[in-house]
């Protein structure tokens, strides 16, 4: 088998059909390296969610293998239990996950399942609520939360188990701009604390700006995988996958064509970089006018 060193999670040749014959995964290969921020992008129905359900052992492939820490996934009861301590999964719709009466109770569910004591569980719950900035919601009943709050609670439920890999399906969907910004901060903290974070998203700009590594999913297969600059610049290929090049790169290309970006400058990556580049442009032209006088 090829290189699984440093891969905390890997999939080789995964194949899966849902009952009824719709092919969901078609020989999919994926390698998730420890400590990296990994984004999966793909059109609706490309197989991202199905893949995630394989990555924590919920679904079992018809053929192919999922590797956890370089070893093939173990689907026995004990094996799955160990697996889910390594890999935390957050569903796209928080209502699929929240069940308990109150927020603190829901978050305590995972730690108790790890066999932790009540005291330790309490500490974990408090830390997870703090990390998601929802400590004030602890006693709130789960059905009296806004969508954004539910989303945070569902992630706190996974974070409280301290997984090494946290997989989040569509983390920003349904969040308002400020909620999304705060959320990116949470993701940043998780990454800084050493968690490998994997997300699925349609948001190309987010994937480009946020991820260390991007994998492009099309019809149950990974068609490209690598650094964002390597896999997200090919507009034709992305179009073919039902995606679109991130707007920053479109702008980058337009500025370059117009000769407005200095030679040798790397690609623009974010809104802030675009603003800085435009400001520099203005200063540059002012300086040019000055020198012509």
């Amino acid at each position: 088998m090829d290189d699984l060193d440093g891969a905390v999670l890997a999939a080789r040749g995964l194949r899966y059909e849902y009952d009824g014959g719709a092919c969901a995964l078609d020989g999919l290969d994926l390698t998730v390296r420890a400590g990296l921020r990994h984004a999966l992008v793909g059109a609706n129905g490309a197989g991202k969610t199905t893949l995630f359900l394989h990555l924590n052992g919920t679904l079992r492939p018809r053929s192919g293998t999922v590797f956890v820490d370089g070893r093939p996934g173990d689907y026995t009861r004990a094996g799955l239990s160990a697996w889910r301590q390594v890999v935390g999964l957050v569903f796209q719709n928080p209502d699929d996950q929240l069940f308990a009466g109150s927020v603190a109770q829901d978050v305590s569910f995972g730690p108790f399942n790890l066999g932790l004591s009540t005291g330790e569980t309490r500490a974990r719950v408090a830390a997870a609520l703090e990390a998601l900035e929802i400590s004030h919601l602890g006693e709130r009943p789960t059905h009296m939360l806004s969508f954004g709050q539910k989303k945070r609670v569902s992630i706190a439920g996974a974070v409280a188990m301290r997984p090494r890999v946290l997989i989040i399906d569509e983390p920003l969907s349904g969040l308002d701009p400020r909620g999304a910004d705060q959320f990116l901060g949470v993701l940043r903290d998780l990454h800084t604390s050493g968690t490998t974070v994997v997300i699925a998203t349609h948001d190309m700009a987010l994937a480009y700006e946020w991820a260390d590594r991007v994998s492009i999913v099309k019809e149950g297969r990974i068609v490209a995988s690598g650094a964002p600059d390597d896999v997200m610049t090919d507009a034709a290929m992305l179009e073919d996958c039902g995606l679109r090049r991130p707007w920053v790169l479109d702008l980058d290309a337009a500025l370059r064509t117009a000769g407005l970006l200095p030679e040798g400058r790397g690609p623009l990556r974010s809104r802030d970089e675009v603003i800085a580049a435009v400001a520099a442009l203005r200063r540059g032209s002012a300086a040019a006018v000055e020198s012509r006088r």
Partner: protein
């Protein structure tokens, strides 16, 4: 239903332990069923009204609206007690007031209202998950309490789903005539059934993703029961029983 739930979470007794409130409810319920309806039932009813409306501060309007359900049942139920029908001859139906009918109806009414007021006290002061915890501690099997908890949670999801499906149907004129209303309602029910199955499946993977092994264990929240609380509960129940027995003896 949403109103009751909200009140259960924020009333003046929300901070008290669920065990104390359940004990109070059960104690008074037994009193209501065992004591003679006059004056015992009336006394229980009065005490529970004071506890629910006065002490817990449940809005009277909400309480009255909730009472409409049981009252309707009661109204239908006491008619046969009040009225007696004799099928004397072949074609003669004799309809008249039943002997002792009024007294019997009054007793039934008092006893039912007293019992209902006990249950209303619990449901309006104590959130469902906390009641379930008390039941669990009383050794009700975990299978029952856990399923009840999941159902409680799902009910809210389904209430939202029903609301949005109905709005979607109505905005496409799904309820513009009686005929289309029946059709829309049927479709809504069918959709909901499908969604319930789907939801059960995703909830299962959701719980498994957090290492669920077949038992749901979460932090205990809510106040701990106190000796003082139980003393107050016991005192009120005892006083009610004593007062009603004493009155009954004096009459």
């Amino acid at each position: 239903m949403k109103t009751i739930d909200r009140i259960a979470y924020c009333n003046r007794l929300a901070g008290r332990s669920a065990a104390e409130k359940t004990a109070f409810c059960m104690g008074m319920l037994v009193a209501a069923l065992v004591l003679p309806p006059w004056p015992g039932g009336l006394l229980v009813l009065v005490v529970m009204l004071v506890a629910t409306l006065g002490v817990a501060g449940v809005p009277t309007g909400v309480y009255a609206r909730m009472m409409l359900g049981p009252l309707a049942f009661l109204a239908v139920g006491i008619v046969p007690l009040l009225v007696s029908v004799d099928l004397g001859g072949r074609w003669v139906v004799d309809l008249h007031w039943a002997p002792d009918g009024a007294e019997l109806a009054l007793r039934v009414t008092l006893r039912s209202l007293a019992a209902v007021s006990c249950l209303f006290f619990l449901s309006m002061t104590t959130p469902v998950p906390q009641v379930l915890r008390v039941l669990r501690r009383l050794h009700v099997p975990a299978v029952l309490t856990e399923v009840a908890l999941l159902v409680y949670r799902d009910v809210w999801v389904f209430v939202d789903t029903v609301r949005s499906i109905r709005a979607a149907q109505a905005s496409r004129l799904g309820y513009s005539s009686l005929r289309s209303s029946y059709r829309s309602l049927g479709m809504l029910a069918a959709t909901l059934f499908g969604q319930a199955l789907q939801r059960a499946r995703t909830m299962d993977s959701g719980l498994r993703a957090r290492n669920w092994q077949g038992e749901i264990r979460v932090l205990d929240d809510g106040a701990a029961a106190s000796l003082l609380g139980f003393t107050v509960v016991t005192a009120v129940v005892t006083l009610t029983v004593a007062a009603s027995l004493l009155t009954a003896w004096m009459i």
